[in-house]
Symmetry: C2
Subunit: 258 residues, 2 copies
């Protein structure tokens, strides 16, 4: 399933005791349509308030419905804040999280002098005019393969914190700054901590070179704040072309990420 | 005051017994800042769910605060869905409604096959692919000065229903259709009824020429449905340049419009 959701009123991806999550809404819809209680597996978790343009999830179900009929039926039972954009049958070897080889996140800042009320749930409104060139320079310094533990929020990190960032850039679009970051996987809160660090560079408190120092230092306290969730969008998850019967590689992704 | 608001959770412009309105929020903020209970006068009412990029309102207050300080103080007390973008002192002859000479509204449709969750509060999601050329052709037929009573929702219409439409056009932007309509004033629900009529043309039920027949017929039952409020935005209100001491003309506007 390719899924979009507006995270504003949702309690994140993962099923939670304290409120509706994307996963629980999907499970409810699947149960209504197929009679089976199944929790779909997402490409990764997103926190409360975080949005997805294109989350990917898989589930195993026995059904005679075609994917298209299933899509229409499931969408009928989903709330207005969640929509399934596509459904396709996949080989049993496909796993939404383990098969993913790249993910692209976008983080949006808004630095207009007057707050933009239409973006209040879709951007981090900052109170300084941000310098996008300094931010982009800093962003470029963390490209490549590094240990990114400095950008990981406290968590029992059971595996390696080495990841590869393929793309990390900041651009301005009017009163918005757009951070696009693509990697083979992300640690918990990694994008939001990078966004919080670039914010300090953008407002002039830190030099762009600080980004390299944060990575080299290996210490969370060197990085900036965890930027608020409403600016974050999961934009794209990339998989190898499994339709070619190529063996599906598994990534280094933790399940416990963003 | 130049004001933006997201009408989703607001009960329209006008103070209401059954929920928070833009006017009551503004009055509350003015009272907090100045100690005086004052209801600002808007350029016109907007219904529940309708948005404003640039509503204009005036009020009379005795205060030593500069406009800029007043703006910051009022914004501090307004909810996140409302913001004052500008405040300026105006001559006593200025009246936000009576001095207005033109208003521009935008109505947004979304005709994507899969519903766009991020637009659900900012567009009318229709279930047919709309023909923007036919809609634009129909829109052009109501330009000029006419009696628009066919597009007015039942209301004790105390004055003339003659208005002049200066601009009325439909264009496509991806999966959105944009209706821009500018006139010297609007009747109650006029834009939404025009939007509902153009919808019938867009989906192929009516020919573009129907727009002229609706106007000529002078009968509300000839027109389409009143399109839902969340697609409607008040975009611009135009006044004569009152700073030049030109006499401020009064328009034909009813107070009871959109």
């Amino acid at each position: 399933m390719l899924i979009s959701y507006d995270g504003t009123d949702l309690n994140g991806w993962q099923i939670q005791p304290n409120g509706p999550s994307v996963q629980s809404h999907l499970a409810d819809a699947i149960e209504r349509v197929t009679g089976q209680r199944i929790y779909p597996v997402g490409s990764g978790r997103t926190d409360a308030g975080v949005h997805a343009i294109a989350q990917v999830a898989h589930f195993d179900v026995e059904s005679r419905l075609t994917p298209h009929t299933l899509l229409r039926a499931l969408n009928h039972f989903l709330p207005e804040s969640i929509v399934i954009r596509e459904i396709a049958e996949v080989p049993n070897t496909f796993h939404a999280s383990k098969s993913a080889i790249r993910k692209l996140y976008r983080y949006v800042y808004s630095d207009s002098e007057v707050r933009d009320i239409f973006q209040r749930q879709f951007a981090w409104r900052v109170h300084y005019r941000l310098n996008e060139r300094a931010m982009d320079e800093g962003a470029g310094l963390i490209l490549g393969t590094h240990d990114f533990r400095s950008f990981e929020t406290e968590w029992p990190n059971r595996k390696s914190s080495v990841r590869t960032i393929y793309r990390c850039e900041v651009s301005r679009l009017g009163n918005n700054l757009i951070l696009d970051i693509e990697a083979n996987g992300f640690l918990y809160n990694m994008v939001r901590t990078i966004a919080g660090s670039l914010y300090e560079i953008g407002r002039g408190r830190w030099e762009p070179g600080r980004m390299k120092e944060i990575v080299d230092g290996g210490d969370r306290s060197l990085a900036g704040q965890t930027a608020p969730p409403q600016g974050l969008f999961l934009v794209r998850v990339t998989y190898p072309d499994f339709s070619t019967d190529a063996e599906v590689p598994t990534s280094e992704n933790d399940d416990l990420e963003e």
